[in-house]
Symmetry: C2
Subunit: 291 residues, 2 copies
DNA sequence: GCCAATACCTGACTAAAGTCAGACACATGT
DNA sequence: ACATGTGTCTGACTTTAGTCAGGTATTGGC
């Protein structure tokens, strides 16, 4: 048993016993836990299918739970005008009130929990939990290959361009059309997006730039996720993809203003080479020979 | 919403979604969760009553769960020879095997969870969780007034003496008889023990040493719990008790080798005074006037 | 030896949570 | 217009988890 898992498991035990009680705020509002979870997940309104997926519910079961909530006047269930087979669920005023009560209770429980701690200890706890949260989220991020033209990939690249524009001294302009087809399997490329709770938090792609040579393109990590090792995870994944696609050399270009990225490439065994393309934004060029 | 509760609640959400799955190791062994919990709590054998108390179960319900476990050959339920109304529950070989499987699964889940993290991130996570664990446990410690002659109080004082013996240059000898009756309500005193999972982790008492003067005695915090603010919590509690008991001055003595304690008293507003007793182990004397 | 208390057992009951198979309305591609 | 597929609803069912009111065996105090 490694030290890390032992600590994790010890934490899990003390946590579920103590803070798990935060979830008790779901109780005692006159609704069974299942219905409460559905109402909670509904938030400001969402589709029935989404609820089923997120909560992993049987469609028959959800149907009944929704009727229960509807009968109590907590939500309105209506047919989606765009596709009348689907249902959309919206909380009513009473439903929102219940949600607010839920929130208040949870807040109160959290406050009571940390009440015995001094200011300094609270700060330490907050720091520790924020770190743990980041790392746990990072560990459970799923890195999935996607079509570079798909919405999550577009979203990730959009964020990437925004960041370049912010960080490059003269800004960045991706140009009017952005052809990403070189990063599809059909053309010897690939693209992967890391999702957390369905939201892209990191991404990167590979394209072919010559005989036996792949190129890593558009590697991006969300600002809020820096320091959780997502960058090197994406890099390792893309390198494995490069090998899988049959290249033995991988290249990439970057800009000096992206200091952490340059440092990461150096750490990962990349060596600087001569300019190999005419990308006007690129200032540094790297290469790594993959075994 | 304070920052601390926001972080705690954010953590709770991501945690229950991700690591909460550690508890799923209870599932899929062919036993319902309730029965599994009972088997798990049984450990190396324990009384039925203890199980009921620890898990908060109805006696009828437990009776049935135990029979279920017995029918599957996982535990042996027998009458306690000392009191034949009571039942003792012991896991059989098969039961132990099931418990081991449970442990293996949980370990595997924990390993899979941290697998995507690098060594350095794992260390950071471990540190963060250990800190969070300590503080969460400390926050949920209950500080209860008890008879100073009761087993938990005796246990705490025993640990206290052991520590003095270890830390005092010449060792420490409490003497043959230890009269603690001065710390009972009947004689204008009190004693409190901080319990975590039923185990004493800190303690301290108050006794009367003169007109309007109380004395804090035998304040102790378990080594493993240093840095979680238990010391100052016990101190605050005892000062409140001193006020409640009608004294307006509180005194205490200590030894220079207990540096953290001396520092804590200074921080809490105690001022050093002349020797006020003939305790041969005491080197420093403090007093605080309570409003 | 008797009585009250204690520890557990039994039967009867309930609510919650979920599964499954079929029914039905609507959507989509041809 | 038609076949096929999708999203939801309904009824019938199961398991789990638990409660409650008595009942029985055992114990300790008198």
């Amino acid at each position: 048993m490694s030290d890390a898992t032992a600590v994790l498991r010890r934490f899990n035990r003390s946590y579920t016993q103590r803070i798990g009680a935060l979830d008790d705020s779901f109780l005692g509002l006159g609704l069974p836990l299942g219905a409460m979870r559905v109402l909670f997940e509904t938030g400001d309104g969402c589709g029935a299918q989404e609820l089923r997926e997120r909560l992993g519910l049987d469609s028959g079961y959800l149907s009944r739970v929704l009727r229960q909530l509807e009968d109590r006047g907590l939500v309105a269930v209506e047919a989606d005008p765009a596709d009348r087979r689907r249902r959309t669920v919206t909380p009513t005023t009473a439903g929102r009130r219940t949600l607010r009560t839920l929130d208040d209770r949870s807040e109160e429980l959290a406050e009571r929990l940390i009440a015995p701690l001094t200011e300094r200890q609270r700060d330490r706890l907050t720091d520790a939990l924020a770190t743990a949260d980041l790392l746990v989220r990072a560990a459970t991020v799923s890195l999935d290959p996607v079509d570079p033209a798909s919405p999550p990939a577009r979203h990730a690249m959009g964020r990437y361009f925004d960041e370049l524009d912010r960080r490059f001294p003269g800004g960045f302009d991706p140009g009017p059309v952005d052809d990403v087809s070189s990063m599809t399997a059909a053309r010897g490329g690939t693209f992967a997006v890391a999702l957390s709770d369905g939201v892209p938090v990191a991404a990167g792609g590979v394209q072919r730039i010559g005989e036996g040579v792949g190129e890593i393109k558009r590697m991006w990590v969300d600002d809020a996720w820096r320091g959780a090792g997502l960058g090197s995870r994406v890099l390792r994944h893309l390198e494995a993809e490069v090998v899988r696609l049959g290249y033995d050399v991988v290249r990439l270009d970057t800009n000096r203003s992206l200091g952490e990225a340059v440092a990461m490439y150096a750490r990962a065994g990349y060596r600087e080479i001569e300019r190999y393309n005419d990308n006007p934004y690129a200032e540094a060029f790297f290469e790594k020979v993959l075994g």
